[in-house]
């Protein structure tokens, strides 16, 4: 059992989820809003347990469905800071349709994905981000699918803020997370997360040998796209794309605790009312 403070945490010792949790916890503490005004949504998987290990509101829902929950919450309550956090299988696999369409909605949301390139909770199958050729119990001859590039997909869907962090560089990760959450609009962050139990390829050391921090975000979408697709000996992390020009929708209209007035509804109803 791993304990952090007086919390028992159900992750394996050494899991990349721990530094991500620590980074997120300190960012949440530094936000200009109290924890009561923050809601985390998540799906099912190891990463999706995250909300249980932080002191905020949360809705830990279904595998793959963290995003539509977040959309419903944000539309209902523009006053809340809404962050969806789940694994790569959850957000890009089972939940892939929500990933592409939530971005298109242009709400002021943060989408965090722990990218361990594996279905960890179910013990090691290929995730959308798994490299070709990777072998596991359901891919005994090696995964044949081209890996899904979440950052490139997010850019193409029109996300105004697209970034990558790494559990192996927690200080940098903290900065990225903070910038993402404070960004006004849909912010997408993919986070490299070593899974010490099931992923023996993309280890801390593997990332350490490759990852470098980007400087300023790239202003040009195509440059950003190219950068998002850099993979191999050198892999960039940081804010890859940031577009200030887009105003998120729906930030002003308050309907919570503002029930429709009898009079207004009466006026509508009167069209069906014949006296």
């Amino acid at each position: 059992m791993v304990w952090v403070g007086n919390r028992e945490i159900a992750w394996c010792p050494g899991c990349g989820n721990f530094p991500i949790r620590t980074a997120l916890e300190s960012v949440l503490k530094e936000l200009p809003v109290p924890p009561q005004k923050i809601v985390l949504t998540s799906g099912i998987g190891q990463a999706a347990k995250m909300p249980h290990y932080l002191d905020t509101n949360f809705f830990n829902g279904l595998h793959g469905r963290a995003l539509p929950l977040a959309v419903g919450i944000k539309i209902a309550r523009p006053d809340l800071t809404v962050i969806a956090v789940s694994g790569d299988g959850c957000n890009y696999g089972e939940g892939g349709n929500h990933f592409i369409h939530t971005i298109r909605k242009n709400l002021d949301l943060t989408i965090l994905t722990h990218d361990n390139k594996v279905y960890a909770l179910t013990k090691g199958q290929s995730a959308p981000t798994t490299d070709r050729g990777t072998m596991n119990n359901l891919d005994p001859q090696g995964n044949e699918n081209r890996p899904f590039n979440p950052l490139a997909a997010a850019i193409v869907m029109g996300a105004p803020f697209v970034a990558r962090g790494s559990a192996g560089d927690p200080d940098h990760l903290k900065e990225v997370l903070k910038e993402a959450i404070l960004f006004k609009g849909t912010a997408v962050v993919d986070i490299f997360q070593p899974c010490v139990t099931f992923n023996h390829i993309n280890t801390y050391q593997w990332y350490k040998d490759r990852v470098y921090r980007l400087g300023k975000p790239l202003p040009d979408r195509y440059e950003a796209l190219k950068t998002a697709e850099i993979w191999g000996e050198r892999i960039p992390i940081g804010v890859i794309f940031r577009d200030e020009g887009v105003m998120p929708r729906q930030s002003d209209r308050i309907i919570f605790r503002e029930p429709p007035e009898d009079k207004a509804l009466g006026a509508m109803l009167s069209q069906q009312h014949f006296k």
Partner: protein, 542 residues
Amino acid sequence: MELNLLIGGEAGQGLASFENTLVDILSKLRFRFFATKNYMSRVRGGHNYHMFRISENPVHALSGDGWDIVVALDRESEQRHKPDLKKGGLFISLEMTEELNKQAREKYGRITAANEILSGVVLSAMGCGDGDIARIEGDSLDPVRTGFSLANKWDVADRYPLSTRAGNHYRLDGNQALAIGALLGGCQFMAGYPMTPSTSIMVYFAAAALELTVHFEQAEDEIAALNMALGASYAGLRSMVATSGGGFALMQEAVSLSGMTETPVVIIVGQRPGPSTGLPTRTEQADLNFVLHAGHGEFPRIVFAPGSPAEAVLLARKSFELADRFQIPVFILSDQYFADSQQIIEEPLDTGIIAREYNVYGSDYRRYAITENGVSPVTYPGLGDALVRVDSDEHDESGSITEDLNLRVRMVDKRLAKFRGIRDEAIAPTPMGEADADVFLVCWGSNGPIVKEAVERLGGEGIRVGGLHFGQVFPLTPGMIDRYGLHRRKVVAVENNATGQFASLLKRELDITVSGRILKYDGTCFTVNELCNEMRTYFRKV
């Protein structure tokens, strides 16, 4: 006295506009009517027809007794429907409607005036004259008068004089009634993905969002729709979705999520003939079992199936209250026939809006506190010091994942304990006909008014039958029916499906043996006449 009218033609020939024009005039003139339609799943062509029953008495079903007037906008309509014209009825042929169109174009410079001219013909047949049409305004007035002259020419004026009229009333189709009920129930959030026959509920809600503090969100799929609604409900808004069988199929996992997280939500399922895509624009009642058992695992629910727009307003409104009271999913079963039938409602509607309560709790708040009745105190993020933690895994009182198996049992018991309160609230079925008859017809949902009229008609013929319409189909409690002594009577179920799903439910839940099943599954509704015939046969056989 009444007038039964059918107009048939291709999609795209303006049948729907004609329906709108006529019912609008009828409503304004306070005529009692029932209008419904039968249409194909295509945008142009094919064969569609709209049916109107205009009467001195309140009418809420098709009589099935033949047509007084048939209007054929194409040859197919003539072939199909002219045979059902009553003796002495008026057939308005393609040639006649062409004359009508010509006048519309020539006299009024707009083809849509044809709708008003034809309405004028109908009004004249009903005995209306210049004096009656004061409530019709502006542009329409003169074309209606042209219709009067045509009626004279076609010798149909005053043939079906309707003297009594309704008072103060509403005119609604089933989907409008559901949407209005939802708004009255304090619903502020709806998410949806278009699907016949429930799309128009979304359209109504989206339109309402222009005027009221409510929101409609078009989702990328039905999975997202229900998850969004659960998110919005969790965040503080009464929420709903509406769909049909195939879309509802995609919502199953989130139904179970609603059950586990105890997040209230209202789900409208507009039934159409299945399996699968089936007949997308027709009617059926074959998703009862699917809705009763939707979602994996065990959790409490309520299923309503209103029979009339007035009941739909009432039950939709109540659904939101009960969903919140018990923190459960509440289902409303509708169908295409119900959704697309327009009629007038003469009973008064309670139009007061009810709303969610917003209680504030402190930092020791536990979302799933175990209580005697299974219902935990609820609050929403950002109110007071409470953190609201909800979880799809089995959880402890504070919402944290648990694998404590004793606690698991207590949590199951807590959730299922709500059934007690739910059963106490059960809405009794509506009795019809003779309370002490030996034979009882039972029905649910849109068949209610049809069965009611059939029971009354048979009674008029001296055939003693009772009837029960179930607006609440689940749970079924002995208290709902004990006064009718159904165990001693012959029970006949009337359902729009091929297997008699409600009949089986009565067996399972209340140990009632249904000895006869009158089933229809060709995609159309029953008519009163059809039901009466079935019952006469039944009596001959018994």
